[in-house]
Point group: C2
Chain length 325, copies 2
């Protein structure tokens, strides 16, 4: 199976960007539906201000990388099944995005990273208030599981349960939330009198694998779960997700030290200003670049071992390594 | 089927208290296991400080009313099945308690109810810090779904999915979190410049049915889900839960106006001090008491219609109406 002669995402970066934008549009449609002010069945009323805050925290121009990975991995593993079950696949992908968005809403809070702006817009607690931001985050996290448990997401009950278990583990105390906790400790942010920890390389890797890595890893695994791949394929997709998650973080750290804010599209030099160790500060730019190259090669090997037409995901791995999107 | 000659919870209030304490002990054992510092499989590390905060927010002497209701309802509907599947039933019940506890951790935060003490102990953000309390709450909510999705909770995948859907709806924007949002608005707490809303009777009922009612309602429904009751039985149990939830709230409001703090075991007169309307302030103590009596009768009717040996749950309804535990 080869599509080398057709225009595809690997030979045409614009096509990859178009695929990303296409999936982002579908996911945003799903979020809009889920957060519509229209009354639900059973006369359930959801407070307008809460729904507005939830929309503010989710419909803010995100790239939707995690949903993209769910869909692209499912597409690669079983294109026919993924196409026939597109609406359900988008719902599954949207659940991951809701969890990602809730984590940003909570991370931005004054007692956490204390950010006033995200993507040039006021963060939820600035646009609304702190209590509303906490509750909006809570409600988004809860809604993700509601979405996954719904038969409209997958006709296969075991698929829904595997997605729920996987998401809960990737997002919980042993994953994203645990990583955020380690990050706060690394920044000495738990309380004014708490000393900042200087992390070892191993601790940095642990922190990153939990804080951002766990959900990226699960996004790729979720694509395999959705199309009911065999366990070995599922593990391989999780490994692929883990590798690109590591690349994503190193690329992010490199941008923080190398780029001007205008190029990066966000404030840079933040890690150094906080005195925060990263793999880049610990090992230097050259070694970080070399590791990024090794990770990209490893991600490609991973796809090659699957024996699938992984040209689109190869492009993703390269794009992530450069953060050129 | 009658147990009128045997000592039971309806003829012996001490036995009801003993049942409540028994289930609380089982639920706390489950929470301890779930939050143990022992490493998880797959070398997943959970930060110690996060686990400590999660334990602080859950193992604080709660009465465990919601898990009790799950277990007691399952016991009434299918005693043999409930007995044979006790460990799984306790896991399901524990998931509801984790959600209840997370909501208390977040509600106590400075930007929400700003409480320093709960059951005489420092609240999680006082004992740890605000960021840790937010993350501990997030992790407890996430863990509840992990617990429910696990086959150890029920061998029946549909039961697990129904529990997840029901919990997500009871806890989310159309349930508990939405109710907390309405409560903050009613107290004018969203921001210093926001006017306090004066709620109508209907709005108070709506707020209470969401903030505390939804999870109590679901606790009773969850018992029916667990033992795979027919849809009409499940609806009837949800109705029973809704009624005792209403009674629970009126009893709470009555305690707030009638009791000395030492008797109530917590600060009283809080609603009046906040200028917050309750059904008691709106309709007077006598009418509130009369409604409580009507609700207790209605709860008993509900059990009678089920044609089961509901003596224990009848006692529960009466205990809740007096809050005498």
């Amino acid at each position: 199976m080869t599509a080398a002669s057709a225009p595809d995402a690997s030979t045409n970066p614009d096509l990859f960007q178009a695929r990303l934008a296409q999936i982002a549009g579908e996911v945003e449609g799903e979020i809009r539906r889920a957060l519509s002010s229209a009354p639900l069945p059973l006369e359930i009323t959801r407070p307008d201000r809460l729904l507005e805050a939830m929309r503010h925290g989710t419909l803010n121009g995100g790239k939707r990388l995690r949903p993209y990975l769910v869909v692209a991995c499912a597409d690669m593993l079983d294109p026919d099944f993924a196409r026939q079950n597109r609406a359900g696949l988008i719902r599954a992908a949207t659940a991951l995005e809701l969890v990602h968005c809730y984590s940003l809403v909570h991370d931005d809070l004054p007692s956490m990273d204390d950010d006033d702006l995200r993507r040039g817009q006021p963060t939820v607690h600035k646009a609304f208030d702190e209590a509303t931001a906490i509750l909006a985050g809570d409600a988004l996290l809860t809604m993700a599981f509601d979405l996954l448990a719904d038969p409209a997401t997958s006709a296969d009950a075991q698929v829904r349960l595997d997605l729920i278990t996987g998401l809960a583990r990737a997002a919980g105390a042993g994953g994203m939330v645990g990583g955020q906790m380690l990050d706060l400790a690394a920044e000495g942010r738990h309380s004014p009198d708490q000393a900042q920890l200087q992390l070892s390389e191993q601790q940095i890797r642990q922190l990153q694998s939990m804080k951002t890595g766990a959900l990226l890893r699960f996004a790729c695994e979720a694509g395999a779960i959705y199309v009911r791949s065999a366990p070995d394929v599922r593990s391989k997709m999780a490994l692929f997700g883990q590798i690109i998650g590591q690349a994503f973080q190193i690329a992010d750290d490199l941008i923080d030290v190398e780029s001007a804010p205008a190029t990066a599209g966000k404030a840079t030099g933040k890690d150094a200003a906080k005195g925060k160790a990263t793999l880049v500060s610990l090992k230097g730019i050259a070694e970080a670049r070399a590791e990024l190259d090794r990770l990209t090669a490893k991600a490609e090997d991973c796809l090659a071992e699957l024996g699938r037409d992984g040209h689109e995901l190869r492009t993703v791995a390269r794009f992530i390594a450069t953060r050129a999107f």
